[in-house]
Amino acid sequence: MELEKLLFTKEHEWVRLEGDSAMVGITDYAQHELGDVVYVELPGLGKELKKGDPSANIESVKAVSDVFAPLSGTIIEVNPKLAANPELVNQEPYSEGSLFKMKIKQPDEVKELLDHKKYEEYLRGIAGE
């Protein structure tokens, strides 16, 4: 997985653009902060989300956390493996542990996402706090 090709949010979601769709997951930093993931609740197919809406729910041994939609759009695919193997989110956050794919509704919003370099800088900022 080439991280340089991904886009990120400050809420620690990653986005991989695939034409007019976007694959979405949580970052390695996020999975590490959450701890062992024990359950993932994914949105229903066809669900329409606005950027910033709670989309998925990730339950770890520490807490239950919302995953916010990084872009506005419609859910067209969810990762079927997570129901039986939620630990994929910890093990392979950028590939096998991705969450869902959405059809992008407002392509303009893509510009608001961070590139890999900016996200890394943002993480360094958090660590230095």
Partner: protein, 480 residues
Amino acid sequence: MSPLPDLIFEISREGKTAHGLGASRVQSKPAIDPGLLRTAIAGFPQVSEVEIVRHYMALARLNYSLDQGLYPLGSCTMKYNPKINEKLAASEEFQAHPYTPHELVQGNLELMARLEEWLVALTGMAGFTCAPAAGAHGEFTGMLIVRKYLKEKGDPRRVVLIPDSAHGTNPSSAHFAGYEIREIPSNAEGIIDVEGLRPFLKNDVAALMMTNPNTLGIFEKNITAIADALHANGSLLYMDGANLNALLGIVRPGDLGVDVMHINLHKTFATPHGGGGPGSGPVGVAAHLLPYLPVPRVVKDGGKYGVVFAAPHSIGRIKNFYGQFLVMVRALAYLCSLGRENVRQVAEDAVLNANYLRKKLQDVLDLPYPTATLHEVVFSDKNLPVKTLDIAKRLLDYGFHPFTIYFPLIVHGAMMIEPTETESKETLDEFIAVMKKILLEAREQPDLLLQAPRQTPVRRLDETLAARQPVLKWHKGENR
């Protein structure tokens, strides 16, 4: 030998029994065809009376309770529960069937009415219902009141705002009542301010649910300005009063512009809780919401107490019968034994104890929000060589129940400590000494923490495996 007692199913032996009833001497025609009756229940444990007693005593000895020691779970207010409350709750005079005619239970009804009067006096709200059976049930009831009120005003709204430092049940209670949730970020001080709230205050906002003092233990000092901003927007202010212990006798939420609130009798007013239950989450409302309180309501008519079962604007029933009556008995017993003039000392001592811990531990633990705190203090695991979980597990080896960990979520590796007013300075000093020792161990012998607990009946449990593959049933012949 395992320090854990065997399961009652494992000590079961065919044919053993605690009591034999013998053959009936009464001649009767069987009501059910004997061919359809079963003579044994498959898998039912067969043990003698003394084995039953010893089995449950062995389980009871594994328990840890406030009667044994400090229980500093943040935001849980695990205070010591005076035994007089239990004595009164167990007294025969208060035991009544809920269908007993009201003229025969005037004392019970008076007790409910007097408790409501106490709660009104302590909070400055216009009226209370004691029907909700727990804190979250109170939140839900409060939000149903908000919903009905706004709907009848012809302005139903969709959104409830909740700060990120609120109790975790608030979003689910509001969602359950049919609302969409928006989270409000705390400012650098760890509280909400009007400027931060303003962008969220649209005309679809039904209410803001604010926990005060919040889960960082910080008093939301902008609450009156926030109440004004909400009211100007046609929205209501809900206050989660589960942390009322910090305010008792000092601040009345009703004077701050709160429209609806709940409190927890089982936290603030000394009823055992945390797995035991039952709880009680009374809801208080300002005058304009009085007609919406749930039924039944206890009312005084002339010299007698009665019960109103229907009211035109009421949200209706939210619980069978009258709520957790014996918890109300405990709460009133607690208040009467304190006396009105001493209630304030509860809050003063709770705040003093928490600040004593804060002062003594802030040199060895990171304090993420330096703002003054009330009844609890939240540290982070920043700059520590181990995780919060390791410290909590090591505390078990020293015989203390750990504090709340990893909550609130806005603090990294949160350690949320609430000693309550009932702990002595000696106990707090002992806890502080143990914490300092553990933090020293963390640097010099981290394995002591990483392998903790060592002194408990079971060592560190695999919480991840338990959550991913829960085994909830034991089958004969299986390894446990």
